[in-house]
Symmetry: C2
Subunit: 525 residues, 2 copies
């Protein structure tokens, strides 16, 4: 299998020159580059080599406790010792105080090297954000330093057997007795619900404190260990057998009067949970990007070495000389670059602060587009490898299996598509996105890449939806159109900034291809 | 997991009223129905229950021999005892003398119930055809009855480590010494290269008898056992670890001076092998259809029981009431019905005999469209099930893994796409397809389903390709357009014949949806 190689040049190009992170007051491109280099080296040397064995060995449930595959605990220890868990934690709470754009660099590389391990460690920044926004100063001081140091990991406990997309059906109960809350109920699909890497686990749990649908939900933090050092009443009742992510233990947890504390107000759990979920969603988008980039790297490497067929001169050629393989390689590459640009633009909008209207609109688009990109890239990458792609030893089939969950978890893609047309489009978020398109369009009145037609098509669709009796019927197609429109803008930015990339020809060629297709200059228009 | 249920009504509707098998002189719809009922019962009771355990247990290589998963040998024994291997074998050679259209009924059901086992048994009809076309009467009498009775199974040994899509690179050698040929070389990706179900295995092997590229290739039959009862010099050197089809042993075979006989002339191996491969390709198309139909059955069943969210009246609803889930279910259903119609039309064109021009054109279209349909249906089906779709126990993730290989084997889809534009389009095959479209169009001048625009778009694309310096560049897009055009015709046929289906409303609704999309009446035109 081709060793993992972090796509750092592409990532920095995307942040600096496509998503324009330089517009953020706190952005430091040199620092991001340094952090990226260090993390890339760590990921290539210590995380990526565990990816295939982790898939093969999987997690085991032994005596009620989860055992991670061999080597994972050691890798996590090194990760913690190097300070990576605290990257975005404020300095006064034990971290380095960097922001989400730098985290995007390490997070994508982590997912590309070892999606399973990233799953188990990746909720820490979101948990920290949630505690910073909704916890008391005392709670922040008590919980965050352990997350920053790596002593503790965090989980997100939402789903129940009867409550998946529909959180109003949550039955897990929070009961107040004296000063203490206790939780009773069952949670499923909890990534890292248990593991043997960190000393502690802080479970963030959505539970019912009254019978008022989603308004009766509260957010709790329930540590694996009580103040007196005894184990809290949280047990792992099973780990799921999944198609992929075998090294990420997906746990069914039973809370049996487990001690817990409220985070924020009772009944305001959904809002707090959305802070955590929103972070996770952009992270999932980056997982899709990571899979696309890794699929490209493997497929390109294979196609450059595999000799089949002959060229115009009658001599044997490597398969990257065949039109169909070139088409697939270009498409995979474009999916990775386009997806990354969307995810980074979203992150820059989040980090810009302010009203968050554009960020709200972009988050579901990034989640859907990037996860689809990862899946499609894995599919195409496997096709490039032919029969070898279907074998375990080439690594692409693991990407194909691992990437598939990203379209399902953190809100199934259909849920995000529906939110876009029913909740966001007609409000300030929709207007913010339109303004973004108008600006992109206006900036290109004299350039090679005109976007007027794309803007008009998007507006036309939006207006038709506004008149529709049931906007949900348009959700899927409108998401596709919105993503295509947004990606066109970002390809224009990429083309214009191509000289800032180490391989300008590659960027220009892919941009020309993407924009030609978008403007209806495609083969059979 | 939902028990397997054979989609017999859909299959018979498709053959009788969409592909119009009644135009074949030997077609007997009542007989096809009877055969289908018997095979459906057998598949539901004995083949399908082995599908999940077969995936979990896999095949093992023990002492140089392949062991199939538990229960497979017994199921094969019952299959042979009921006479299924001989379905298409001439009566005088021990079979029932039925044709490929009836085989399409059982073959699709078999693949839906247990793709892995179908892989191992499914080459028999193609091997019989090859022997009937190219073998001597003596060879036919010696080999075919054992295939008809189930005593023997057949393999197809083409691929070598350095020769995949490019058969000119084959190095396996056939050497004549006295009256006897012997084979020496390595073959990979041989489905059922060994197993413990049938007493004998007849290997059909493409090997080199001179150094003239593909003209130096000859087809051999090499039995697992020599005339004197000793084992032939063919050994299994490994079985591959694959993403799916774990109960289908994919073998690496070493031929070490193995006894063999020529089938047909020396140097004419490719033509003979194409008889076998062409059969296998339509069979692969039916595998795609089978996966789509099974994915639909599971997803529909789940969506009809899973309660999430509320309807317009505020009451909890099953998820098949949500727009996005309905969209996905309809798309899966349409992929199965559309794919099946394409595969059946191809089979009827083959069975019609005559010049085979239309059949030649349809075969690659069926292979590509139906395998893509199976993959896409599995992806959508998993999305309907959400997180449960990613778990082993619901069965969809196995479909997702098993279906993926169909776009790769029997000629990677890109190879078929290229053949369509570079080899078939400008010749009699392309003209036969155009005539087919013209007739379908003419038949609908006064009806509800006009196809004129689709025909003109297709012709325009063909003409542009004819003028192109490098038609291969258009291969992928032209295949998509051709498939879409063909499927439109077949949806028109389905709509017109809807009353012959037990559920006419379903057929009409899907046809209206498919044809509206095709005619540019889609959401955002």
């Amino acid at each position: 299998m081709k060793p993992f190689s972090a796509p750092l040049d592409d990532i920095l190009f995307s942040l600096n020159h496509v998503a324009r992170a330089g517009s953020l007051p706190h952005w430091d491109g040199d620092l991001a580059c340094e952090v990226g280099k260090h993390f890339a080296a760590f990921a290539e040397e210590q995380l990526a080599p565990l990816n295939e064995p982790g898939d093969r060995l999987g997690c085991r449930l032994e005596g009620g406790r989860v055992r991670m595959p061999e080597g994972f605990a050691e890798a996590y220890k090194a990760y913690a010792e190097q300070g990576w868990p605290g990257l975005t934690v404020p300095e006064q709470l034990g971290g380095q105080g960097l922001d989400g754009t730098v985290l995007a660099v390490t997070s994508e590389i982590f997912s590309g090297a070892n999606h399973s391990l990233q799953m188990v460690t990746g909720l820490v920044p979101g948990a920290v954000s949630t505690l910073l926004s909704f916890g008391t100063a005392e709670q922040q001081a008590r919980f965050i330093p352990s997350l920053a140091s790596g002593e503790a990991l965090a989980t997100m406990c939402l789903t129940e057997p009867e409550a998946g997309s529909d959180l109003a059906r949550i039955r897990c109960k929070g009961v107040l007795s004296g000063d203490c809350w206790s939780l009773t109920g069952e949670k499923i699909f909890i990534s890292g619900g248990d593991q043997d890497m960190s000393d502690k686990i802080h479970h963030l749990v959505l539970a019912r404190t009254s019978e008022e649908g989603v308004k009766g939900l509260s957010l709790f933090i329930s540590p694996c260990t009580r103040a007196d050092g005894s184990r809290n009443a949280i047990s792992v009742t099973r780990i799921e057998e999944k198609m992929g992510l075998h090294a990420s233990p997906t746990c069914q947890l039973a809370f049996d009067g487990a001690e817990a504390e409220l985070i924020g107000e009772a009944g305001a759990g959904l809002r707090a949970m959305f802070t955590l979920m929103n972070h996770a969603r952009v992270d999932v988008a980056l997982q899709g990007v990571a899979h696309a980039a890794r699929a490209f790297d493997i497929a390109r490497g294979y196609a450059g070495e595999r000799v089949q067929g002959r060229g115009p001169d009658g001599k044997p050629v490597t398969i990257d000389r065949h039109a169909d393989v070139r088409r697939m390689l270009d498409e995979i590459d474009a999916l990775a670059l386009g997806g990354r640009a969307v995810a980074h633009l979203t992150l820059v909008a989040i980090e810009a602060g302010g009203d968050q209207d554009l960020a709200e609109f972009l988050k579901p688009v990034a989640k859907v587009f990037c996860t689809e990109a990862g899946m499609r890239a894995a599919e195409l990458g496997m096709q490039v490898l032919g029969g070898y792609g279907y074998l375990r030893e080439y690594g692409l089939e693991q990407i194909y299996r691992d990437a598939r969950i990203t379209a399902i978890y953190e809100g199934a893609n259909g849920i995000h598509e529906k939110a876009l047309v029913t909740r966001l489009l007609s409000g300030p978020a929709g207007r913010a996105f339109e303004s973004f398109l108008v600006e992109e369009c206006a900036a290109r009145q004299s350039g090679a890449y005109k976007l007027d037609e794309a803007l008009e098509t998007w507006r036309g669709a939006r207006d038709r939806i506004a008149e529709s009796a049931d906007p949900a019927l348009w959700a899927h197609d409108f998401m596709s159109l919105t993503a295509a429109t947004l990606v066109s803008c970002l390809w224009a930015r990429m083309a214009e900034a191509a000289d800032r990339h180490p391989d300008p020809r590659r960027i220009r060629r892919l941009a020309d291809r993407a924009l030609a297709l978008r403007d209806g200059q495609a083969v059979f228009g």
